[in-house]
C-alpha cells in the first residue's frame, strides 16, 4: 500500500474539481484524484449554456438573475449565496473566455447569449438572453478549457484512482483512500484540505440523463462518516430527455424558439405558464408533460410529448407572438448540432424536419453535502464547519438552487464555487498542521471491499440497481404520495439488506476490477435513494421539484426550511431542519 502526501486533495475532475485545482495549485501542493480521465467527467455533457448577466444582446442585471434564481428555487435557496453566484458568474464567464473557451460570438465579437427557462428581465417581465454558450456543447467546452489550463499549469493528476473512503482521525479529516484501477492497489493520500467535487447520482432513477459513473460516491462516503445530507428530496427531472433513453435535449432548444406539443398538436405550456410558456422552470414543465400524458394527450397515447424545433413550427409561433426573428434550417444546424446528431443517431429522427419525442429525465441533484458560501462542509444545523473539508459543484448544497435549479445555473455554480473552494482549501492548508493518520487508515474500507469481492450470495448488483431504479421512478419521481414513498423506503431498505447479506460478483481479481467497484457504487446509490425517500416523506408540502399529490400546496409556515439528514452507525436516519436565508425576496406565489 502506497502513501502519498499533498496539502490539498481534490476528489473529482469535473468543472468544480478542475476550477478548484487551478486555484489551489497556485500556491499549494495540490492533487486531483478522479475515477475517470478528467475529460470523461459529466460536466462535458452540459449543453445549453452558462448564465451570467453580461447584457451582450439586451439590458440585463445580476439583480434580475438573483430574483429569477430565487423564484426558480421556489424560495428555498439561500439568498446570500445566490447573490454571490449571480455576481461572480459574470467574472467567471469572462475568466473562462480569457482561458480560451470558444464561446459563440455576437456579430460585434462579444460572447453570444440565448434565452433559457426561468431567466427573465425586470423581475419576471419577459425572457432575457443570459445563457452564454458554445453551440449546444457549452459543458464540453468548459471541461476541455479547464483541463487545458490544468495542463498549462502543471496540476498533479491521479487519473483512474477511485476514491472509496475519507480518513478521519477523531473528528478531523486526515486524508482519503483510493483504489488505483490499473492495479487494484489501495493508496492512502494524506492531506490538510480535502475538497469533494464528485458530481451527482442520477443513476438512482430509471430514465436519467446522467452518466453510468454518476453514483454519488462522495456523498455516500460523507454520510457514512455521520455528516449530513441537505435537501435530498429535491431532485430535478429535466422536462426533455429523449424518450426511453433519457439523453438530455437542452432547454436551449426552447430558448431558440422550440415548442412542446401534445398529441392534439396543442402548445400546452400556454395553459400552464401563460407568460413565458415553454420557458418556465423545469419543475413546472416536467409536471405539465406528466399531466398531459396522464390525461391521455401523450403522442399516440404514449408516455411522451413532442419537442418541435422545425423552422415551420418555430416561425409560426414567433409570428403569432409578434416577434421579428425567424429561423431556418442552417441556423438550427449551427446552434444545436449535437442535439441533431443524438436524434439522428439514436432515433432516426431529423429534428429540422420532424419533432423529437421527449419525456422527463432524472437530471440534477439540488441537494447534497451542506456547505457555506466558502464551500466549507457543515456538520450540523447550527452551521459548525468541519475544518479541512470542502465540497463544490453538484455534490454540494450551498444552497443556491433550493427546490429547483434554473437551467444554466449548474455551470456557473461549478465554476464560481469551484474557484471559492480552491482558494479556501489552499488558504486553510497553508496554516494548518498535518492531521496524523490513524493506525491502519484503510482497514474499514478494505474489509468492506473484501466483503464484496468474496461475497457468496446469489444476487447480482444489477438486480439491485434495476429494482432500485424501478422503485424510485415509480414512487419518488415527478409526483409523490405518502403511500408511495413509504413503500419505496421499505423496499429500498430490503435491497440494502440484500446488498449486505446476499450479494455476489464474478470478478475476484485486481486489475481493472470494475465488477467490484460497480457493486460498491450500487451500495452508494442505495444509501442515497434511502435518504432521498426519507427526506421526501417528511416534507408534507409541494415545493419546486418535490410535488406531492397529497399535499399539493407550498407550506411556508412549516416547511420554509432546509432538511438535514444524517445516518447513525446502526443505519438509522434522523432528520433535522435549518432556516432558509432570506434577504431581498420574500416568498410569494410562484407563477410563470
Amino acid at each position: 500500500m502506497q502513501t502519498h502526501r499533498h496539502e490539498v486533495i481534490i476528489v473529482g475532475a469535473g468543472g468544480a474539481g478542475l476550477m478548484a485545482a487551478l486555484y489551489a495549485s497556485r500556491n499549494t501542493d495540490t492533487a486531483v484524484i478522479s475515477k475517470l480521465y478528467p475529460t470523461r467527467s459529466h460536466t462535458g455533457a452540459a449543453q445549453g449554456g452558462i448564465s451570467a448577466a453580461l447584457g451582450n444582446h439586451e439590458e440585463d442585471n445580476p439583480d434580475w438573475h438573483v430574483y429569477d434564481t430565487v423564484k426558480g428555487s421556489d424560495y428555498l435557496a439561500d439568498q446570500d449565496a445566490v447573490e454571490i453566484l449571480c455576481r461572480e458568474a459574470i467574472d467567471v464567464v469572462l475568466e473562462l473566455e480569457h482561458m480560451g473557451l470558444p464561446f459563440d460570438r455576437t456579430p460585434d465579437g462579444r460572447i453570444a447569449q440565448r434565452r433559457f427557462g426561468g431567466h427573465t428581465s425586470n423581475f419576471g417581465e419577459k425572457p432575457v438572453r443570459r445563457a452564454c454558450h458554445a453551440a449546444d456543447r457549452t459543458g464540453h467546452m468548459i471541461l476541455q478549457t479547464l483541463y487545458q489550463q490544468c495542463i498549462k499549469n502543471d496540476v498533479n493528476f491521479y487519473d483512474e484512482f477511485h476514491v472509496v473512503d475519507l480518513i478521519m482521525n477523531g473528528d478531523r479529516p486526515a486524508g482519503i483512500v483510493a483504489i488505483e484501477l490499473g492495479t487494484g492497489e489501495m493508496h492512502i493520500f494524506q492531506a490538510k484540505s480535502i475538497l469533494f467535487a464528485t458530481g451527482g447520482w442520477g443513476k438512482v432513477w430509471q430514465i436519467s440523463s446522467n452518466a453510468y459513473t454518476l453514483t454519488g460516491d462522495g456523498n455516500a462516503i460523507l454520510l457514512r462518516k455521520g455528516l449530513p445530507a441537505q435537501d435530498m428530496e429535491f431532485y430535478q427531472f429535466h422536462p426533455t430527455g429523449i424518450f426511453r433513453l433519457g439523453i438530455l435535449i437542452t432547454e436551449g432548444v426552447r430558448g431558440e424558439g422550440g415548442v412542446l406539443l401534445n398529441d392534439k398538436g396543442e402548445r400546452f405550456m400556454e395553459r400552464y405558464a401563460p407568460t413565458i410558456k415553454d420557458l418556465a422552470s423545469r419543475d413546472v414543465v416536467s409536471r405539465a408533460i406528466y399531466l398531459e400524458v396522464q390525461e391521455g394527450r401523450g403522442i399516440n397515447g404514449k408516455g411522451y410529448v413532442h419537442l418541435d424545433i422545425t423552422p415551420e413550427t418555430v416561425n409560426h409561433y414567433l409570428q403569432k407572438e409578434g416577434e421579428k426573428r425567424r429561423i431556418d434550417r442552417e441556423y438550427i444546424e449551427t446552434k444545436l448540432p449535437d442535439i441533431l446528431d443524438f436524434c439522428r443517431t439514436y432515433l432516426g429522427v431529423d429534428p429540422v424536419h420532424e419533432p423529437m419525442p421527449v419525456q422527463p429525465t432524472a437530471h440534477y441533484a439540488m441537494g447534497g453535502i451542506p456547505t457555506n458560501a466558502e464551500t466549507e462542509i457543515l456538520a450540523n444545523a447550527a452551521g459548525d464547519i468541519v475544518p479541512g473539508l470542502y465540497a463544490a459543484g453538484e455534490c454540494a448544497c450551498v444552497s443556491v438552487h433550493g427546490a429547483n435549479r434554473l437551467g444554466t445555473n449548474s455551470l456557473n455554480d461549478l465554476v464560481v464555487f469551484g474557484r471559492r473552494g480552491g482558494l479556501r482549501a489552499a488558504e486553510y492548508a497553508k496554516d494548518a498542521d498535518w492531521v496524523p493518520l490513524p493506525d491502519d487508515p484503510a482497514g474499514e474500507i478494505r474489509a468492506a471491499l473484501e466483503g464484496i469481492r468474496n461475497a457468496n450470495g446469489s444476487t447480482r448488483p444489477i438486480e439491485l440497481r434495476e429494482r432500485m431504479m424501478t422503485i424510485m421512478s415509480r414512487d419518488v419521481g415527478v409526483f409523490r404520495t405518502e403511500e408511495g414513498m413509504s413503500r419505496a423506503l421499505e423496499e429500498i431498505r430490503e435491497l440494502q439488506e440484500t446488498f449486505r447479506t446476499d450479494l455476489t460478483i464474478d470478478d475476484t481479481g485486481h486489475i481493472f476490477n470494475f465488477d467490484l467497484l460497480e457493486a460498491w457504487e450500487t451500495g452508494n446509490l442505495l444509501d442515497l435513494a434511502e435518504v432521498t425517500a426519507a427526506s421526501a416523506l417528511a416534507r408534507r408540502e409541494s415545493r419546486g421539484a418535490h410535488s406531492r399529490e397529497d399535499f399539493p400546496e407550498r407550506d411556508d409556515e412549516n416547511f420554509l426550511t432546509h432538511t438535514l439528514a444524517t445516518v447513525d452507525v446502526n443505519g438509522k436516519i434522523s432528520l433535522d431542519y435549518k432556516p432558509v436565508v432570506i434577504t431581498k425576496h420574500q416568498p410569494k406565489e410562484r407563477v410563470y
Partner: protein, 236 residues
Amino acid sequence: MEVTLKVRRFNPEQDEKPYFAEYTLKDVEPVDRVLDLLHHVKWYIDGTLALRRSCAHGICGSDAMRINGVNMLACKALVQNLIKGERGTIQVEPMYGLKVIKDLVVDMEPFFDHYRSVMPFLVNDTIPEGGRERLQTPEQRERFDEGTKCILCAACTTSCPSYWANGTYVGPAAIVQAHRFIFDSRDEAGADRLAVLSEENGVWRCRTIFNCTTACPREIPVTQLIAEVKGEIGRR
C-alpha cells in the same frame, strides 16, 4: 434479433494471450447500442468483462473500440447499422496501437502524452481593459470550430496505420488539438506548436490515409485539419 457478440478478451491475471469469447444474445433490438450488448454480457453473463464507459451518448469519449474492424464509440454504434437481417455477428476488440491492459481497456497514457506535447491550451496573457471578453468575430470563431469538437476518445489516432507503425508519431488527435489553437485568433503560440509538429514525429508522418476521418465519432474532418497544419508550416 439474435446477435453473436465476439469479444476479444484478455485478463492479465489469468490469460497468457488474448482470445475471442462468443456470447449469443437473443431479443436484441435493432436500436440497441453495442454498449448495451456489452453491458448485457457484463451484468448478466460475465462480470469480469472490463471496458471503460461513462456518458453513453458519445460525449465523454470513454468507449472507443474496434467494432467489426472499424474504430467507433460503442455507445454510438447501433446494431441495426452493423447487421442486416434477423441475425448476425458483431466483433469487438480493443483499439490497436495502444497496449491492452485488460479486455477492452487499453493504456491511454501514450495518447495523453502526445496530446500534452502540442501545448493544448490557449497562450495569451493579455486581458482586455475592464476585464471584459476578448473580441472575436463569428468568422474568426468558425475558423477553428471543427477541432473544438474533439472528445479525446483516441478513435482517430488508433485507426492510423502510421501510428500503428510508429508510436512516437504524435497522431491525428494531437494535431487536431494543435489546430484548434493555431487557428484561434486569440492565441499567440502558434509558432511553438508548429515547431513541434514540423519535427520528425509531427505532421509529416501523416500519409493522408483518411482512416482518422472515417473513425471520428464527432465527424471532424481530421485529415483536412492535418493538411491545414501542414500548409501552415509551409507558409510560416
